[in-house]
Subunit: 408 residues, 2 copies
Amino acid sequence: MPGHEFFTALTVAEALRGFRPGRRSAVEIVPLDAALHRVPAAPVTTPAPLPGFARATVDGFAVRAADTFGVSEGLPGYLDVIGAVRMGATPTTGVRPGTAVAIPTGGALPPGADAVVMVEYTQEAMPGTIEVVRPAAPGDGLVRADEDVPAGAELVPAGRPLRAQDLGLLAAAGVRELAVHARPAVAIISTGDEVVPATTTALRPGQVRDATAVALAGLVADAGGAPDPRGIVPDDAGLLDEALRAAMKTCDLAVVSAGSSVGARDETAGVVAGLGPPGIFCHGLAIRPGKPTLLAECDGVPVIGLPGNPLSALVVFRLVGVPVLRRIGGCLRPPPEPRTRARLARQVPSAAGRLDVVQVRLDDGVAEPIFGHSALLSVLAAADGYVLVPEAATGLAAGAEVEVVLYQ
Amino acid sequence: MPGHEFFTALTVAEALRGFRPGRRSAVEIVPLDAALHRVPAAPVTTPAPLPGFARATVDGFAVRAADTFGVSEGLPGYLDVIGAVRMGATPTTGVRPGTAVAIPTGGALPPGADAVVMVEYTQEAMPGTIEVVRPAAPGDGLVRADEDVPAGAELVPAGRPLRAQDLGLLAAAGVRELAVHARPAVAIISTGDEVVPATTTALRPGQVRDATAVALAGLVADAGGAPDPRGIVPDDAGLLDEALRAAMKTCDLAVVSAGSSVGARDETAGVVAGLGPPGIFCHGLAIRPGKPTLLAECDGVPVIGLPGNPLSALVVFRLVGVPVLRRIGGCLRPPPEPRTRARLARQVPSAAGRLDVVQVRLDDGVAEPIFGHSALLSVLAAADGYVLVPEAATGLAAGAEVEVVLYQ
């Protein structure tokens, strides 16, 4: 017979502060075009300054700035145009006093020039000669050879997933490949005598398809991990032990969605406790849904036991599992999550001492809580995001301004 | 010689409102475990109600609620326990008046029962008999057979990229594959005589590596597209025409990062104008950086001409190209972008009539504008996000509260 449950419930914040497995995924070399959102294992410094040569930033004429001092509309300066810079070519004609070289935006500054006069401030006086009607200071109309990236500068830091523009800067500097953390391999084990593969066509009464594994795989992928779904294990301590030990040989993190029954939950804890030191960190979190969560580290592999019902499992994995996963993957600066402020459409009751995760629909700045049993996946699929009711609160009032974390 | 530039500059909002190519990517069938962030081409309705049978949501005893009416701590009811439901099994023992069947959370409700009494409200009176100390109403302690998803209900809508929990709900309902829009194929063509492949080891003065292509590929992938980098084309109208026509045979969207020189830009416009009807929609946007942007649709393929310098190209593609790309991919409800409110550290000047995109670093609620020439990729790589200065404003004051769109 199932009995009462007793948990040593930590708050989510306590759990995240205290549970810090040292595991880090391996470091591997990837080519630049496969590095989007990967996490550099070390800062990448530039092999050379950028752009590497002084470049024009306007269309116009490369000049010696001194030749334009004091010129104006009323008293233009005259310069002989002695050549033109071609894009992509090393300039061959140097600028001497009293001369100018035509140059397009992006062209390399010819020797002798120290400024580029915009074409708008010139006009052809006669073939081969221009009038300059505005003075240029040295450095005007160009970027210096090391203005984009000085020699030895850091292009990207370690620990922050690479964004599109980071790839661009690395490409500009000639970085062709870089060392990143491997995507942490996350074993996903579903348990429960009632759980059948998601591909099962017809269910018998009492059976449910494995909805958690594919959804967890999605959260793992979103957090930079490599999901490794390892199928369904019946409620049998020996089989679970076997499955976990097999997973731990190759994975960086093992996640078990426990059978729903108290017996099955106790079984998971018993099996995890026997996997190796240091063992269970906590069993029970002060969160709803998601209380029967287990955090452990066994022989160097973090193990997370999730509640049996899919909604609770996904809620807890997002709040607790994802930060653990990010850290294993070397991610020190996770990407920002979309959030928005909204007014709560209705009162949300909560018990003090417990973090409540309330799923909401958003409509024009109003957050409508979606009530429904925590076993109902449809609640999560209907939600645009969630609101946290902190441990100290006993609920949130209708009309309260809340922060909604948005699903992507 | 380069001449003055004249553009018919639309605002970004005008361009997005007016430029609405009808192109949609093909529809394809993908298995559920490959459907994360894919865009359903049609709503998916459930093949059957969920969970499909009434399930216990607590550990306890399946009973006839009428048998518990009026019971209390002082006056418990007594029921004979005539069996137990096993997880995953079809219950065989029916509940008759005066009896109860033990049931774990998630177990299928046995015939005859209409409520589940929590184990906490019972105790064993003698072997085979329990005392019930709290009354249960019909429906207590269970979810109905169609409470998660009623027959024929929509599981996921068309046009919204699938999130992890959507995959879970689809799996629960036995949906094994679904029709989604193909990732739009985006041809990325770099142009410019000065541009050399990013893999070039040593540059000659005047040459720059192609930084835009790999960064654009990242933005395309982030927006659900399939980047198809097609290399570098010199500043030659004939070659660009050839490259674009070849790309248009297979792509859903063609993106050209134009050569930086005015001549090259004019060349791009000339080539695009000759590709097919209806042709160029606009050439020039009231945005900085990014003014020399070209939007066109030629023979059913949208074509976007981006500015030559990488920073401007990426800024414009994010603001203008991504919404176009999303629509081509059937995405009607793009995922939310992370944003945050911050105080501007310094004044930002701007010209009225033009949207200014200001890159900022964020530190503890303060947004520090990163000034630097728009040719400098390092500015974009150093940024945490950007602030928009709207067309109507002539700048933003130091200390102003602004919305920062955050890079992910």
